[in-house]
């Protein structure tokens, strides 16, 4: 039954692709799209038989009908206000159902910073150079689908030697009033010696219909550039996300990713792949996931050491409540050339919900010998002795639990470069926690 329906979505997609090939695009893009669509057609939607989707069943998601084009729906100013991070002064960029809204964005006329819809960036030199260069090398069928069908998204370029004075806050709002399947494509390029902070919030407007967002972002961090990148997943139950973030780092660059998911969005699958493409590169991936009710959150990360003398550090924390499920899959590759690599990965889980589940797979694949790689993984719950200790000191049980979760998340939150974002995340963790 399900196969039948998803087949129909599949057929619908095929028709859409064949029906509206935009003609104003450069010829090379047409070719990329065609190849991508062939890849998607040959793979179809992934099933749980595929190793990467073992715990993640997308069939119910793709087994229903969607519109593919966003129609202008009434955006409530309050939604944007609610998504603002208290106390954070930032350049704001708003994407409504994936479409860039110039009228709501404030990242304009900033020296050294270009922000525009991706459809206007086709002629840029770095678009030609980097677009689909990295993400499409993976075998994620949703990337192929996105490449073939995207009509919206964001392009950001931070110019050479530019150090942005304020972070860029991108707010992705789901507003749609009918079931919608969006294909959002982003490309962020950090030029040499550039420094920036990008914070992305994913929110849903109250009253929005069922939406499935396939967001593919490609990031290039060029020589000596530094980028701090935050994901704050704050969508509500109608929203479903498939995100694929592909980062390519050049020599002496630094990339930090902070991936935070809170109770709300029913289905979240994040693929975060970092390729350390040259020597002396540093990457940090941090994650804190708090889930509730029947949420399903899956974080798949790849840290790919291609060259010697690089360092990577990854730490993911999951807290599952109610009947929610958290999946973590962390892969570290150390290629044959990548001698003198230091790679660390840790995943800690607090399984609190009576019927919640945690599936984790910390994976190392090492082809070089002069390396130091380690990973650790734990699954546990509230420590009764710690709870007793706190309660014996007159702290209520509810408060004690909040404190313990706070402490659990601290390893990760304390690494946040931006203290305002950190305070905001800590507040959201506390808010999302059901205690007592």
């Amino acid at each position: 039954m399900i196969t039948q329906v998803s087949d129909s979505l599949y057929t619908q997609l095929v028709k859409t692709y064949e029906g509206n090939l935009p003609t104003s695009e450069p010829h090379s893009l047409d070719e990329i799209r065609r190849q991508a669509f062939d890849r998607f057609k040959s793979q179809g939607f992934p099933t749980v038989k595929r190793e990467d989707w073992k715990y993640t069943n997308v069939q119910p998601l793709v087994g229903r009908g969607y519109a593919f084009e966003a129609e202008p729906a009434a955006l409530d100013e309050a939604t944007i206000e609610a998504a603002a991070i208290p106390g954070l002064d930032a350049y704001r960029v708003v994407l409504v159902d994936g479409i860039y809204r110039a009228d709501l964005s404030t990242a304009k006329d900033v020296p050294g910073l270009s922000v525009m819809p991706i459809t206007e960036a086709f002629e840029r030199l770095c678009f030609a150079k980097y677009f689909s260069e990295y993400a499409d090398k993976t075998d994620n069928p949703f990337v192929a689908l996105n490449t073939a069908l995207f009509t919206q998204g964001l392009f950001i370029e931070v110019g050479k030697n530019q150090q942005l004075d304020k972070p860029i806050h991108i707010i992705h709002v789901a507003v749609t009033d009918r079931p919608l399947f969006t294909q959002v494509r982003n490309l962020y390029v950090m030029s040499t010696f550039a420094e920036a902070e990008i914070i992305e919030s994913f929110v849903t407007q109250t009253g929005a219909d069922h939406n499935l967002n396939n967001v593919v972002s490609e990031l290039v961090v060029r020589e000596n550039a530094k980028l701090q990148h935050y994901y704050l997943q704050l969508g509500s139950a109608q929203s479903h996300y498939l995100t694929h973030t592909e980062i390519y780092q050049e020599k002496h660059s630094l990339y930090n990713h902070y991936n935070c998911t809170f109770p709300g969005a029913t289905f979240v699958r994040n693929n975060i792949n970092v390729r350390l493409g040259d020597s002396e590169v540093e990457s940090h991936l941090y994650g804190v996931t708090l889930t509730a009710e029947n949420q399903f959150v899956d974080n798949h990360t790849i840290v790919d050491h291609l060259k010697p003398h690089c360092e990577s550090y990854e730490w993911y924390k999951n807290i599952t409540q109610d009947t929610s499920t958290a999946v973590f899959n962390g892969k570290i590759f150390v290629r044959q050339d990548a001698q003198k690599t230091n790679a660390f990965q840790q995943n800690n889980n607090m399984l609190i919900g009576e019927k919640s589940a945690v599936y984790t797979k910390p994976q190392l694949e090492i082809f070089a010998d002069d390396v130091k790689c380690s990973h650790g993984c734990t699954i546990g719950q509230f420590d009764n002795e710690a709870l007793f200790y706190l309660r014996a000191r007159g702290i209520s049980e509810a408060q004690a639990r909040v404190l313990l979760v706070h402490a659990f998340a601290f390893d990760v939150t304390s690494r946040f470069a931006n203290t305002t974002v950190r305070a905001y995340v800590e507040h959201l963790v506390e808010k999302g926690l059901k205690v007592g």
Binding site: E51, Q336, Q339, N349, L351, I352, G353, E354, K355, S356, A357, V358, Y359, T360, K361, P362, Q363, L364, E365, I366, F367, A368, D369, D370, V371, K372, C373, S374, H375, G376, C377, T378, I379, G380, Q381
Partner: protein, 483 residues
Amino acid sequence: MSTKDDELLRELALEEYKYGFTTDIEMDIAPKGLTEDTVRLISAKKNEPEWLLEWRLKALRHFFKMEMPAWQNFEHPEVDFQDISYYAAPKAKPKLNSLDEVDPELLSTFEKLGIPLDEQKVLAGVVAVDAVFDSVSVKTTFREKLKEQGVIFCSFGEAVQEHPELVKQYLGTVVPQTDNIYAALNSAVFSDGSFVYIPKGVRCPMELSTYFRINAENTGQFERTLIIADEGAYVSYLEGCTAPMRDENQLHAAVVELVALKDAEIKYSTVQNWYPGDKDGKGGIYNFVTKRGLCKGDNSKISWTQVETGSAITWKYPGVILKGDHSVGEFYSVALTRNRQLADTGTKMVHLGKNTRSKIVSKGISAGVSHNSYRGLVKIGPGAENARNFTQCDSLLIGDRCGAHTFPYIESRNKTATLEHEATTSKIGEDQLFYLTQRGIDPEKAVGLIVNGYAKEVLNQLPMEFAVEAQKLLAISLEGSVG
């Protein structure tokens, strides 16, 4: 430095496989190919009852329907199942009553292997041995003494004849025919193996041991081991394997099933030294084995210890299903690969009962251009209150062309369960080497020392006789690996 490395690596590659002799014995070999008739032939040769033949045929039908999996971390070699002979046995002779009647060629083979088949030697070693030569169990020592205690230790074929009710009750209950393609194949064509039954409350007075040897060309070895420890029983079982050097690959697809009832304990140790192929990866054994234990009763315990140095490809995951409350599963493994060897091995711990505990210690060592993977599953079912798991898997890399990989699957569906997993990958510390060489120990010995220390936690789990052999095996395999 690097020239020395190269030299030593070359030496290492040439380190000979000392068990690579063949034995000329008149063999009874079934024609190549696999059909229902093959299965009928095997069954008839073994004079098996009708139900077992049916059971085999059912497995064969499953086998024909199954597809080769693709998830493993090596390229699965093309195995032509029709190009293998599924039965090879020393020419049928009247039933043997004493060792004198065993073919002297065979005895000398076992002597070369260092198996104390000779009863006197056995007395010295206090080990009861069942030797499986190609597909047939040749000789089981110490039968009488074990019988006094009610312990049944015999070849699988005999067990089918003499204790059909036990075989029928437990066969296939831990590893179902449909478990995987090689388990299905084994279920259809298994020819012999060992059978152990320890009655209620008996502590088996000696270590039980089986030696497996593939001798004939173009045959696969498909033995089946079934060990049952009744309530309160204890047994320690050892398994060793060797094969002659041949240019073509040979298939070894065994199934081992362990059943521990209430308060019972089974300790299963393996020293696997099948022929690994030559330095270019030519020949060698494909060791595709399904091993699983079931802690059926409360307070039962199953412990796997393995030292894997042989085989061109090792692909196995000895696991424990912790069904009984308070049951314990353990897995200790050292896997050493060199030249072009491939290993994808690890364990499965499935926690179903309350207060179940499991511990996994896996040490991988890769040298040359080999690849060594740890793949493990720890699964906590919703009913496994207070389940506890600890996993440690370390990898040691020797040389810059080899690979070490870790694929742990950790799944928890119970909020009272506590799981820990840690893994490290590194090479032999230069400071450690320096420390030892500075004290006059040559680099080769120093590496041996370090590796033995690294693997000690696992080697300590082996029974005495095996621990010594395993240590030697590691040292031989490592000779000249680092300068």
